[in-house]
Symmetry: C2
Amino acid sequence: MTSPFVPGTAVYIEGRPGGPLSGLSFAAKDLFDVAGHPTGGGNPDWARQNPVPTRHAWAVQALLDAGATLMGKTITDEVSLGILGENAFEGTPLNPAAPGHVPGGSSSGSASAVAQGLCDTALGTDTGGSVRVPASFCGLHGIRPTHGRLDLTGMMPQAPSSDTTGWFARDAATFARVSAVLLQEAIGDAMPTRLVIATDAFGFADPEAADALAPMLDRLKRLVPDWREEVMAPQGLSAWSRAQRTLQPIEAWETFRPWVERDNPRFAFGVARGLVMAAMTPEADRGWAALVRREARGRLRHLLPPGTILAMPTTPFAAPRAGLPLPALDSVRAAINVLCAHGGLAGHPQVSIPGATVDGRPIGLSLLAARGADAMLVRMALAMERA
Amino acid sequence: MTSPFVPGTAVYIEGRPGGPLSGLSFAAKDLFDVAGHPTGGGNPDWARQNPVPTRHAWAVQALLDAGATLMGKTITDEVSLGILGENAFEGTPLNPAAPGHVPGGSSSGSASAVAQGLCDTALGTDTGGSVRVPASFCGLHGIRPTHGRLDLTGMMPQAPSSDTTGWFARDAATFARVSAVLLQEAIGDAMPTRLVIATDAFGFADPEAADALAPMLDRLKRLVPDWREEVMAPQGLSAWSRAQRTLQPIEAWETFRPWVERDNPRFAFGVARGLVMAAMTPEADRGWAALVRREARGRLRHLLPPGTILAMPTTPFAAPRAGLPLPALDSVRAAINVLCAHGGLAGHPQVSIPGATVDGRPIGLSLLAARGADAMLVRMALAMERA
């Protein structure tokens, strides 16, 4: 277990005085440009790809302008291709809530740094679960905003049709302050009027995880008394997952292919394997996956009209132990993806809220809403903390 | 371009006084065990796999016993999976005969060290061309002995049904001294009585390469006047190559799979890709390749009775420039493999002899013989140097 900050980097930029985030500190995943510092992308051969940035990424600039102070750049899974937070080149950031277990990834260092209290908030990215999963595993608030809502300038892409910028905080109040700045919208008092509990998602989680989340679900039901149980994915969450695990790697391969072919970069075997298999995907599989994506989008639009939220476990279990061999790691990743795939497929906003544990290790409860209703989800995080 | 020796290692072991190799120095590819030193295998995660060896590899011990002094361990392509000699972790050893061009691999550092005059001979391994190719590119004598002839104890395996221990020297006399020790057979005076010139292999080489080798072929014809032209592979050298490129990676995957699955090691993308594709090979392709291998063995047994040698270009061209992008590198590797596949498929001994250049860069002429007739090939290297 290692420091959450990228080895060999030291970054410190004070925020503009007098802003709404004055007094807060933040870190940025090493996919975000910080002027004057190479963007490493979690891979030893990525930085050679690009000149040292001369401008901050949009999200970094927004936080600095709002008064937050940048404390460092954090470890990411290699070029954001990973969900557990184990980087073969830079190490595995400590999960202080579950030592010996993974922090979750790919925004591993950002989650670790916030969870350890080394900063108040931190920027991550979420393409296939990379903010939601470490938020769940480290016991943090974390958001994957509506896809397309934030300006992603200066953020290293992976699969653009799924990429988002997200962030973490330990407490709901800080989470709300940061969210208001990055969403560019005040966190109002509007509460949802209807709650859907995704029975298939709770059914897919380990029974101990579902049991651990039950008290949080009870609090939620008291806050939104008009609740009902419903299947989220009639086609099967596994079918959604298969579609996302077809489309996202193909897009990632398209993103990274020019670099890979030119530089033959170093990767952990499991990362390279994902790119190789993406490159070999039959066109028929891609076509099928694109249709499933359309169906998933239709289903979530139907389930989540304005004013409705959906509750589900963020992950099917708490953080697995670090250092699993590849076949076991593949099973774990596949299971996590089943509860994350809807994000990349449909782009709805999702907030993961801490408050439950399994054997002492955190697990998050996730809320989804209509596209654009990000602020209402942040409002619910505040309400849940007070309830 | 880097030193041929493995970074961070320093090995020096004096040979036993009074042996037949007294006064000679040698290096060992970092696939050979040297007692008290980790065997790195050209990969940053391999050494963790095994305890530090307590005994020398058989070939290392044999050279020390014969009086040669070990000067160092040399860079190899990662776990011997490479043919050009570019190691993303340890660098590309200098090819002093063609600066800016690759040394050839996977026994890259051994060839580079000998070619630079840093030692007199060096141990390599040849599974799919890993001695023959760097011998050709660096302008050295190099041998791939009869498969199964040498004791491979303490040599890291790749594809055991094709793996051999080979070696390099600058001049034929040194080559013969070392060969007598490692073959455990005096290099006699017996000359071959018949010569086969492989028209398909010369036809596959670049025309400039074939032209460059013509004067050496003329010398050979004077030494073995009973010569004829013949097709080496009626099925096509490409079919032999496809069979070898099916079987060898599958065997390599079987060798490395327990390590890869347990440690998820770091690889250059192109190396990982080879293992991934091997793991996905359809059983029908493997079955076809095994039959082609039987046919190739039958063909070479027929072409090469005792007393007959076969001549062919060692490589289809001289050393390509270093740092090619992956698609170009794939084409180069595929072409090289067409002229190397017979070695791994059929296991006949082969010696590459220097003496020709294309645009100033070396290219070797190869001689093959019946299984077990290794010493006669070494004898021919001496005869060619004197002719």
